[in-house]
Amino acid sequence: MDGIHDMGGMHGFGKIEPEANEPVFHAAWEARCLALNRAMGAAGAWTIDEARFGIEELPPEVYLSHSYYGKWALRLEHMVVERGFAGADEIAAGHALRPGKALRRRFDLAAVPRSLTRGSFGRPAPAPARFEVGERVRTRNIHPSTHTRLPRYARGRVGVIEALRGCHVFPDTSAIGAGENPQWLYTVQFEGRELWGENADPTLKVSIEAFEPYLEGA
């Protein structure tokens, strides 16, 4: 979706302000929030793509006015209610009022080690890869109202296939419960000028990780 989360190339957000000796979390609730989100994902409540779409669905003014883990908390609340894992009345009460819904697995101590390794999203390829390393491609000019991993700044642009990264779960369908629909993934490199025009830094090259349906021959 063409949402506020798709920030590449936007102006006006100001300077970057690194924090010296930054702690891992700035408050205990941030740690609980991170763990709860990851635990529900590990328990099989939703896929990573559905969870990312959950953040993107926050209204832009909410997205911009909340901290990173603040957004995670709102997303978690929204998703557990939307998917029937808990009622808004239960969250308001701060206690379960009804038994839970069946989940693939409970997030318990035995599930922790597995949750500390990133999931594996590689899948067997349904067809040979369409593009080869070195080939020129153009990204498609698409504007789905649902989740996509093709950023706006890199749509309709000509680049070169730099690497083939295997065949992976396709976020665009996985995010909306339409299946894993595995697709080839490529690193596509663009000249800065192709993305930002003639005043771009001439020494700049940018790459995205692009799924095959994002690409056409150029």
Binding site: I16, V24, A27, G122, L185, D201
Partner: protein, 210 residues
Amino acid sequence: MAQDHDHGGDEEHGSELSEMQLRVRALETVLAEKGYVDPAALDVMIEAFETKIGPHIGARVVAKAWSDPAFKEALIADATQAVQTLGLINRVGDHLIAVENTPTLHNMIVCTLCSCYPWEVLGLPPVWYKSAPYRSRAVSDPRGVLADFGLTLPGETQIRVWDSTAETRFIVLPMRPAGTEGWGEDKLAALVTRDSMIGTGLPKDPKAVG
């Protein structure tokens, strides 16, 4: 455990802090009572992120690559496999990719869409990495971004920005600083900063570490 402290200190942040504390506590209670999550398992996960997983792992990887040409070659060929052989973490997630800085090329990592980050080797990302200023400017104005970090590269250096838009994850292999000939891996690892592995910084000056 994380300490409650009001980072930033402005009124808006303070109100978010107390509101979020309450909301997250309510969520945890409900989800635990429903039987979905065991709070003790959340404690263990949090402890891992606070004490076990962090940029010290990436620093060991870089120091090894600086010291062992065969390992460096393996790292560039397949970082997932290469890091696995070091035994620093249980298992490395798929598709970790190491990109090498050279005298003519500087790499920088970003996730413009969310917060994708190689956390198995660097830990959780810092706030600035997830912030709008970094995500918006890294792909269009990387030299301006580097200036915010106090870093100026030669005008002719090629800048390569990797936008982490899929489940591939990137780590920058910075250049080994001059003046470190004969240094062991422990001493070298102490030079490797988190930011040097994201591409917004360089390793520490060996003279400053001695």
